[in-house]
Every structure is written in structure tokens, then in C-alpha cells.
């Protein structure tokens, strides 16, 4: 009972601290690259939260009220479920399911459903377009991510995330399967629609799926996006960078360091790169990324042969 409560606290803490870290790192990256002088990158997210909190909520004509209110909550819940799968050390894993990798693979399509629902239920054209556009891309992300994740579970001979971490004791998957991590990170940017892959909430759609929401609903949605990015980084760190494995420092410290490393990488990339046209990225995803994911899988299979 105490252990369950502790695990719950860790996941909730990770949600809060992780999202705050995302906001700080993103603000810092923006300040460095955009050469704007923000007052203080550490306080800025708090000001932003406060301003979102105080803005009155918006509504549209005849939205699907249930779905509209629920979608951000669902998205955040899926991010939290993803964070719960992250193993911190051999002895502390909030949820150690024997099919953890598959559950993570299931969270991605479920997140897609939540994003679609968020855009569709507002009953307005820009959110609808964002949702529509996202789903057409989401299917390709899911496939790529599936293959890459099967790739990491091959050397582990298990679908358990802790077993995947343990299988990297000699060699991290990022070296053993060099294609895996880049592909996984592209999927991560896609599913949390960040930076160059922000197709669902992009500026050319007036913020797409969230263009009709404001105030606390919007805050929750942004919170979910940041949390999803953290969950992706943490799972990526476990599946490719050896999770808790590392010298000197205790396991959880390594998990945090590696997660932060991936987060910084993703956020800087997000600030640096322009948005492609969705049409072009769709072609890229099916013609280049999916075959690369196949290659990764074959590579992993050949490498895992005894």
C-alpha cells in the first residue's frame, strides 16, 4: 500500500516537475536562439500558468461538451500512464507490466484518439482541420514506433521495459541499433506535436486543435503535451540509453540525467527547425521512415541471433 502511494507520488511529481522542466528548457532555448531577453526563464512558466488560469474559458456553438472537456484530461492521463511505465531502478518500477513495451505502444494510438477528439469536439473548422491532419500523420508515427520498440525487445527477449533496460548492461541500444533512437525521437516530436512536427496545433491553423480553447482547458492541454514529451524522453532513455544503468550515481539519477538529455535535444531541435508541409512529411514518413524502421528491425534481429 505504501509502495503504491509512493509510486503514485513519483508519477505525479514527474508530471509536474517534468512539464516545468520542459517549459524552462524551451524558454531557455528560445531565449538563446531568438535572442529575446525574457525576464527570467525559471519564473516565466509560472507567470504563464497563472495567466492561463485567470483567463475565462471559451466555448463554441454546440461543442461535444463531454469530449471537449475530457480530451485534455485523457491526453494527460496517457502521458501519466507512460511515465508510470518508466523503471527507475531494478527495485523501483511504478508499473512493471510484462507487456510494458506493448502498453506504451498502445498509449500512442490512444493519444492519437485524444488529440482527434480534442479537435473534433470543439465543432469549429480550425480545430477540426488540425485533428484531421494529425490523424492522417498519426498512423505513420504509430507504425514506426511499433517496429522500433519491437527492435529493442528482441535482444531483451521480453516485452518488459525493465528487462529491456537490463539487456543493455553490456551495450546500450543506441549503439547496438543506431537507427532506433532517432526514429523514436521523431515519433516523440510527432505525438506531442512539437516543433517541426507540430501539425495539429500549428501557427498556420491558428493553433489548430486548441484554437478554440482558452483558460484552464488550454493550460491542461499544454500541460499534457509537455508531459507527453517527458514521457517519451523517459521511455526513450530507458529503451535506448540504458535507463538506470551507469557508474557512480544511483539509478534514478541516471534516469533523470538521460531523460533531461533527450528533452534538451528534442526542444532545441523543435526551436531550430521549420515546419514541413504535412503532405511532404506524410510522404517522408511512409517512404523513408517506415522502411528505415524495417531496416532497424532486421538489424536488431540479425544482431540478436545467437
Amino acid at each position: 500500500m505504501v509502495e503504491t502511494l509512493f509510486a503514485l507520488l513519483v508519477v505525479l511529481g514527474m508530471l509536474a516537475v517534468g512539464s516545468y522542466a520542459v517549459a524552462v528548457i524551451d524558454g531557455a532555448a528560445g531565449a538563446v536562439l531568438g535572442r529575446t531577453a525574457h525576464s527570467n526563464v525559471f519564473l516565466l512558466p509560472i507567470y504563464q500558468c497563472a495567466s492561463f488560469w485567470l483567463v475565462p474559458a471559451n466555448t463554441t456553438e454546440a461543442p461535444d461538451a463531454w469530449a471537449w472537456r475530457l480530451a485534455p484530461v485523457l491526453y494527460l492521463t496517457f502521458a501519466a500512464m507512460g511515465l508510470a511505465l518508466v523503471p527507475w531502478s531494478p527495485s523501483f518500477i511504478p508499473v512493471d507490466l510484462t507487456t510494458g513495451i506493448v502498453l506504451w505502444g498502445a498509449l500512442e494510438p490512444l493519444a492519437t484518439v485524444a488529440i482527434f477528439l480534442h479537435g473534433w469536439s470543439a465543432n469549429s473548422h480550425f480545430p477540426l482541420l488540425g485533428a484531421y491532419r494529425y490523424v492522417s500523420l498519426g498512423l505513420s508515427y504509430i507504425l514506426v514506433s511499433m517496429f522500433v520498440l519491437i527492435g529493442v525487445s528482441l535482444p531483451a527477449e521480453s516485452l518488459q521495459i525493465s528487462a529491456v533496460v537490463e539487456s543493455q548492461r553490456e551495450l546500450w541500444n543506441v549503439i547496438r541499433q543506431p537507427l532506433g533512437l532517432p526514429l523514436f525521437l521523431i515519433v516523440g516530436l510527432g505525438i506531442s506535436f512539437w516543433g517541426p512536427l507540430n501539425f495539429a496545433d500549428s501557427s498556420d491553423l491558428a493553433e489548430g486543435t486548441s484554437s478554440e480553447s482558452s483558460g484552464r482547458a488550454k493550460l491542461l492541454w499544454q500541460f499534457g503535451r509537455a508531459a507527453m514529451l517527458v514521457a517519451f524522453s523517459a521511455i526513450g532513455a530507458s529503451a535506448f540509453l540504458g535507463g538506470w544503468l551507469g557508474p557512480v550515481l544511483p539509478g534514478p539519477a541516471w534516469v533523470i540525467l538521460k531523460t533531461l538529455f533527450i528533452l534538451v535535444l528534442l526542444l532545441v531541435l523543435g526551436r531550430l527547425l521549420p515546419r514541413l508541409s504535412p503532405d511532404r512529411f506524410l510522404t517522408l514518413a511512409w517512404v523513408l521512415l517506415l522502411p528505415l524502421a524495417f531496416v532497424d528491425l532486421v538489424w536488431a534481429g540479425v544482431e540478436a541471433l545467437p
Binding site: 528560445g30 477540426l128 516543433g195 501557427s203 527547425l273 521549420p274 515546419r275 514541413l276 508541409s277 504535412p278
Partner: protein, 278 residues
């Protein structure tokens, strides 16, 4: 009643499809005039098939744009070329910064806006150009779309026409400009990428002209016509609105490409009044 948006509500009805003949339900709605991505005052009625624009009808043309006062002064008396060209460079860079913002490069857009405030004659834009090339801006959404026909390019005038290969620039007739070694930049192509490059090139050329003109303290000599960043303005008239080009240009483009195309074109008429407070 079927289809369209009766009483403001979108209703389902199939319509002919542009792509492969599968007749699906179009989505009709209005955009503008309160959307910072579009030129101020511009609004249109759009019909989409999925993400592809089937039809666009301009319902309100953008407000005329007020140019810096120097361009109007150039029609009354000779003005220092250095000042004129600096204003031109700022104008083009502001357009470019908007295009960067639309294509998801908010940081770069802010950087460019900040550069504008501290822009000096003789500044080099090579760093900016290299950076934009490295991050792939010239391959971002819409880069190869928005191809103008020759008629359309002529109608729009200004940098868009020069990018499309029409070597028209009043400055080449001005002996003072000739003394500074002015040569028309033209012919990048008629798509969005070409127009982005044209802005960058013209801004860079304007800055180097400004530097030379400041050294030699040259003023314009032709007071009948002036080449504004939007096109030729003379005693006869100023560049007029060309928004209707969009009605031919946008159908068939994807939404993001269409928005990038709108951001790559400067279509508003030139106002009779100059920008205030400059």
C-alpha cells in the same frame, strides 16, 4: 437544406473532388479579418476538401499598407538614397520575418525583427542566409508551391514580379543609382522559395547600396517615379491591390502551403498616407 453552412453550422454534402474523383464532403468557412497570419483586413470564404483548398473567394481585400514616409517624399524632392534603401531593407526583412513565423520558426522570426531595429547601411545578411539555409527554411511548407503565371506576376509587381523573371525596376533608370552600380536582381523563379530569396537578396542589395550612397551622399534624381518595396509608385498612381490573384493561385494547394503562399506575397495596395511616427 444540404451542404454549406446554413445558420453558421457546417452541414455535410458531397461535392466534386479535385484530386481523384472520390466525391467527399467539403468544409466551408470564412477566415479573417482578425487573424494575424493573414494581411490585416483580409478575409475570404474558403472551401476545403480535407486539407486541400477547393475554392477561395476574397470577401474583403486587405487594408492599404502605409509605407515609410521617405517613399512618398521621394516623389516630391530628391531624397538620400541611403535612407530610402535602408527603409526598403527593413520592409523586406519584416515580410521575411512574418514568413518565418508562419512556417514555425518563431525564434528566427524574432531574431530578424530584432535585427530590423538595429539595421545599419552596409550590414551583411550572409549569416542569416546561411542559417536559414542550414535549418531548411527554403524547404519548409509551401516552398515549391504558389507558382505565379507571368500575367499574375505582372499584376502584382515589385519583388514578386522580379523573382518571376521580369527585370523591371525603376531604379535602373535613375542615373544616381547607375552611378552606385545598381543592377536589377531578378529571376529566382516564381514559387514561394524564390520570393523569400528575392526579399533576402533585395534587402542585402539595399543595404550595400545604402552604404555606398551614404559614403558619397547621393540623392535620387527622378522625382516622377519611385520603386517602393511593393512596386512602382509614381505621379500616375501607386501599386493597387492584387489579392484576387489568390483566387486563381490557391485552389489545389494544401492549407499550410496556401498560408505560406499568402505569406510570401505582398498583395495589399499602397496607402495614400505614409507610416506615422517614423
Amino acid at each position: 437544406m444540404m451542404g454549406g453552412k446554413p445558420y453558421g453550422r457546417a452541414m455535410a454534402m458531397t461535392a466534386d473532388d479535385l484530386r481523384d474523383g472520390l466525391q467527399l464532403d467539403p468544409l466551408s468557412f470564412s477566415v479573417g479579418p482578425f487573424w494575424p497570419v493573414l494581411p490585416p483586413g483580409f478575409s475570404a470564404h474558403v472551401t476545403l476538401h480535407g486539407d486541400v483548398i477547393a475554392e477561395i473567394q476574397v470577401t474583403s481585400i486587405p487594408y492599404p499598407v502605409a509605407l515609410p514616409a521617405i517613399f512618398r517624399q521621394a516623389l516630391e524632392k530628391p531624397v538620400p538614397i541611403a535612407e530610402l534603401e535602408l527603409a526598403r531593407a527593413c520592409y523586406h526583412l519584416r515580410q521575411l520575418s512574418h514568413a518565418l513565423w508562419v512556417n514555425g520558426l518563431e525564434s528566427a522570426s524574432l531574431t530578424v525583427l530584432q535585427r530590423i531595429h538595429a539595421l545599419q547601411p552596409g550590414d551583411s545578411l550572409a549569416g542569416l542566409r546561411t542559417w536559414l539555409r542550414r535549418v531548411g527554411f527554403f524547404f519548409s511548407a509551401g516552398a515549391e508551391k504558389g507558382v505565379l503565371g507571368r500575367d499574375q506576376a505582372e499584376k502584382i509587381g515589385g519583388p514578386a514580379a522580379r523573382a518571376a523573371g521580369i527585370a523591371q525596376d525603376t531604379r535602373q533608370d535613375d542615373p544616381q543609382y547607375q552611378r552606385l552600380g545598381f543592377q536589377v536582381i531578378y529571376g529566382h523563379g516564381s514559387n514561394c522559395r524564390a520570393r523569400w530569396q528575392q526579399w533576402l537578396d533585395e534587402a542585402e542589395q539595399a543595404l550595400s547600396l545604402a552604404a555606398r550612397a551614404r559614403e558619397q551622399a547621393v540623392c535620387t534624381s527622378d522625382c516622377d517615379r519611385v520603386e517602393t518595396p511593393r512596386g512602382v509608385m509614381g505621379r500616375g498612381g501607386s501599386p493597387s491591390d492584387a489579392t484576387f490573384v489568390l483566387q486563381e493561385l490557391l485552389p489545389g494547394l494544401e492549407w499550410s502551403e496556401a498560408i505560406a503562399t499568402i505569406a510570401s506575397l505582398d498583395l495589399a495596395a499602397v496607402s495614400d498616407y505614409a507610416e506615422e511616427g517614423v
